[in-house]
C-alpha cells in the first residue's frame, strides 16, 4: 500500500530575494528526510517562505529546486504552477473544504485517479491517520481541531508530495493532541524520505523536533543550523534574542593578550556590569579573528557550560579565583530565586563580582533538590561554551 511506501525525492534548495510587496531575503536548504523548523516572531515572513515553496507566491527573484527538478528560477523564467509541484501543504487553519466530508476532502487531491479509486485511496490515507470510518464521513465542522488537522495531513500526503510543508501545525491544538501530533510527525519522518519544513514560533517545539532550524525576522533569514549549534553560537545578538538564549551578557572584547593567546587562537573577554562598567571578571575564550579589541560585544553561554559546586563556600570575594583554570572560571554566587516546574527547576544566581547580572540555570535530577534560596554556591563557567558576537 502506498500509505507506507517511502516517496523518494531530493533535497530542497530555496533562494529568494524580494523587496516588495513584502521583503523576503535569504536561502536555506532541507535534505530529504530532514525536518527543518522555520522560526521567528509573527510577521517574520515564515508563512510567505512556505507559500513561495508551494508556488502560491511568486517572488521577484529567486530559485527553488527539489532534487534535480527546478520549480522556480527567475533567471531562466521557469515557474511550475502549484498544481504541478506535488507539494503537501498543511495550512495553519487547515483550509479544509467546509462542504465536503473528510473523505471527500482527501479525495479532492486524487482527481487524477478514476473516480472509483479516489474514495478507496482517501480511506486508506484517513485510516492511516487513525480516523474512524464514522469520522471520515463527517464534515470538518464536526471534527475536533486535532482530527481536522489529521484530515489536512492526509490530504497533503495523498498528493504523494515531494516536500511536506507544515504551517504552525501545533498552534491551534491543545496540549493533549499536541503530544499525539509529535508522535505522528515522528512516524511520518520514518515513512517519508522527503524534506519536511515546519513553521513555528514555539522555540521549545522547534528545538525538540527539528534537525535544523532557520531563524527569520522581518522577512530575512538570519541563520540556519542545528538547534544545538544555533543555541551555542548564535550569529548575532538578534538571533540570540529571537531564539531566547537565557544567558546573554554584555562584554568588552580585549583580544589576545600574549603570544601564547595568539598561538592558541584565544582572546580575552571582559564581563561588563549591568551598568556597562567593566567588572573584574575576564574570560579566556576562542577567538575567530572577527572582533576588534575594544569592541563592545554580546556573549552567550549555554546551560551545558555552567557547572555548580555546592561544596565550596566563599567567605570573601577573591578576584584571583575568577581567572580561568583549564578553561574553567569559578565564581562565587548566591541563589536568588528557585522555581520548581514539574521535573525541572529553574534557578537564578546573582554574582557579587558582576553587578546587577543574574545567571539562569536549569537543573533536573537529584541536583535540583539542593538548590535553595539565599544559598551561596560556586559556579564554574566552561569557557568552551562561551560564544562571543558583535553587539547590534
Amino acid at each position: 500500500m502506498n500509505a507506507t511506501s517511502p516517496i523518494l525525492t531530493g533535497a530542497l534548495h530555496v533562494h529568494i530575494e524580494q523587496s516588495s510587496p513584502m521583503p523576503l531575503h535569504g536561502s536555506f536548504q532541507c535534505e530529504a528526510g530532514e525536518l527543518m523548523a522555520l522560526v521567528g516572531p509573527s510577521g517574520a515572513g515564515k508563512t510567505s517562505m512556505l507559500r513561495a515553496i508551494a508556488g502560491l507566491l511568486k517572488p521577484s527573484e529567486g530559485r527553488v529546486t527539489i532534487g534535480d527538478q527546478v520549480w522556480m528560477d527567475t533567471q531562466t523564467g521557469q515557474f511550475i504552477a502549484p498544481q504541478h509541484r506535488h507539494v503537501g501543504l498543511v495550512f495553519q487553519d487547515y483550509a479544509l473544504m467546509p462542504h465536503l466530508s473528510a473523505m471527500e476532502n482527501v479525495a479532492l487531491s486524487l482527481l487524477h485517479l478514476p473516480s472509483s479509486q479516489r474514495k478507496l485511496k482517501a480511506k486508506l490515507w484517513l485510516d492511516h491517520m487513525q480516523l474512524s470510518a464514522e469520522q471520515q464521513l463527517r464534515r470538518p465542522k464536526n471534527l475536533s481541531g486535532g482530527q481536522q488537522q489529521r484530515v489536512a495531513v492526509a490530504r497533503a500526503l495523498a498528493r504523494e508530495p515531494r516536500v511536506l510543508l507544515l504551517d504552525e501545525p501545533f498552534s491551534a491544538v491543545d496540549q493533549m493532541s499536541r503530544q499525539g501530533l509529535y508522535d505522528l510527525l515522528a512516524d511520518l519522518r520514518k515513512e517519508l524520505h522527503i524534506p519536511i519544513v515546519l513553521v513555528t514560533h514555539d522555540l521549545a517545539e522547534a528545538r525538540h523536533l527539528a534537525d535544523s532550524m532557520v531563524v527569520m525576522e522581518g522577512g530575512t533569514i538570519l541563520q540556519q543550523g542545528t538547534p544545538a549549534h544555533i543555541y551555542r553560537s548564535p550569529r548575532n545578538a538578534r538571533v540570540a534574542d529571537l531564539v531566547g538564549v537565557q544567558n546573554r551578557f554584555s562584554g568588552m572584547w580585549l583580544g589576545p593578550q600574549s603570544a601564547q593567546d595568539s598561538i592558541d587562537q584565544v582572546g580575552w573577554l571582559q564581563w561588563l556590569n549591568a551598568t556597562g562598567t567593566p567588572s573584574e571578571i575576564k574570560l579566556r575564550v576562542r577567538d575567530k579573528g572577527r572582533l576588534l579589541a575594544g569592541q563592545h560585544v554580546t556573549w552567550v553561554i549555554q546551560g551545558d557550560g555552567i557547572h555548580l559546586d555546592e561544596k565550596t563556600h566563599f567567605t570573601t570575594t577573591n578576584p584571583a579565583t575568577c581567572l580561568p583554570v583549564n578553561g574553567m572560571v569559578s565564581l562565587e554566587s548566591n541563589v536568588v530565586s528557585v522555581r520548581h516546574l514539574g521535573e525541572t527547576t529553574l534557578a537564578s544566581l546573582s554574582l557579587p563580582s558582576v553587578l546587577g547580572i543574574n545567571l539562569r540555570i536549569v537543573r533536573s535530577g537529584p541536583q535540583r533538590q539542593r538548590l535553595s534560596i539565599n544559598q551561596p554556591i560556586t559556579v564554574m563557567l566552561d569557557c568552551d561554551w562561551v560564544h562571543v558576537m558583535p553587539s547590534k
Binding site: 502549484p82 498544481q83 504541478h84 501543504l89 487553519d93 483550509a95 473544504m97 462542504h99 479532492l108
Partner: protein, 223 residues
C-alpha cells in the same frame, strides 16, 4: 387571464436568466477576487439600475438604442435588426435592469469564501475550472440561488422599463405586468385580480423555495 402575456413574461425571465447567469457569475467572481483603483466605479455602475427610477432607465435605453440613435441606426443598417419595441429590446432592457439583482448576491457569496480554500485546491492539484466547479460554486451556491430567484421574480414584475422599451405589443412586448395595468385601465378588475394573484403566488413560491433550499444546504453543511 391573459395567458399570452403570462407565457411571454415566463419566456423573458427564462432567457434573461440564461444570458445573465453566466455573465453574472463571471462578473461577480471577478469583482469578489480582484481589487484595483477603479473597482468602486464598476461596483457603482452595477448598482445603478437598482437606484434609478425604472422610467429613467427605460428612457435612456430607448434614447440610446432607438432607431434614431447611433447604435440603433448602425445595428439596423448592418444586421437589419431593431433594438426597441420588440422582444429583443425587451430582453436587452431586462438583462440590464437585472444586473444588480444577479451580481450582488453572487459577489457577496464569493467574497465570503476564505481565499486559502482556492490555494488549498491549487496545491491539491485542481486547475482553475476544477476549483470553480468543485469548491467555489458549491460554496457560493446559496448566493447563486437567491440571485436566480430575485432575477426571475423581478423580471416577471418589472413595469416601467418594459413599457418604455417595449410599448405594449401583444405577443411581442406585452408582459403580464403591463397586461394587469391594461386590464385595470379597462375596468376589467376580475382579470386584473386573477393575474395579480397569479404573480403574487408565483413570487411567494419562488422566494420560499429559494429560502428552503438555502436552509437545507446550510443545514446539511452543519451536519
Amino acid at each position: 387571464m391573459d395567458w399570452q402575456s403570462f407565457i411571454l413574461s415566463l419566456e423573458l425571465a427564462a432567457i434573461t436568466l440564461a444570458v445573465l447567469l453566466p455573465l453574472g457569475l463571471w462578473l461577480a467572481r471577478w469583482l469578489a477576487k480582484t481589487s484595483f483603483a477603479g473597482k468602486a466605479l464598476i461596483e457603482a455602475a452595477v448598482v445603478l439600475p437598482l437606484v434609478l427610477p425604472p422610467t429613467v432607465l427605460g428612457y435612456y435605453l430607448l434614447v440610446s438604442l432607438g432607431a434614431d440613435s447611433s447604435i440603433g441606426r448602425w445595428v439596423l443598417q448592418t444586421f437589419d435588426i431593431r433594438l426597441t419595441f420588440n422582444f429583443l429590446g425587451l430582453l436587452i432592457a431586462s438583462i440590464i435592469f437585472n444586473i444588480p439583482f444577479m451580481v450582488q448576491p453572487i459577489q457577496r457569496a464569493f467574497e465570503a469564501i476564505p481565499s486559502n480554500l482556492s490555494e488549498a485546491a491549487a496545491v491539491s492539484g485542481l486547475n482553475k475550472w476544477q476549483t470553480f466547479f468543485r469548491v467555489e460554486l458549491p460554496l457560493a451556491w446559496p448566493g447563486v440561488l437567491s440571485a436566480v430567484v430575485l432575477t426571475f421574480v423581478h423580471t416577471l414584475g418589472e413595469f416601467g422599463v418594459v413599457l418604455m422599451m417595449g410599448g405594449s405589443i401583444p405577443g411581442e412586448t406585452k408582459t403580464i405586468a403591463i397586461s394587469i395595468y391594461d386590464r385595470v385601465q379597462a375596468f376589467d378588475l376580475a382579470s386584473a385580480d386573477q393575474m395579480a394573484l397569479t404573480l403574487l403566488l408565483l413570487s411567494i413560491v419562488a422566494v420560499a423555495a429559494s429560502f428552503f433550499a438555502t436552509a437545507r444546504i446550510l443545514k446539511a453543511r452543519a451536519r
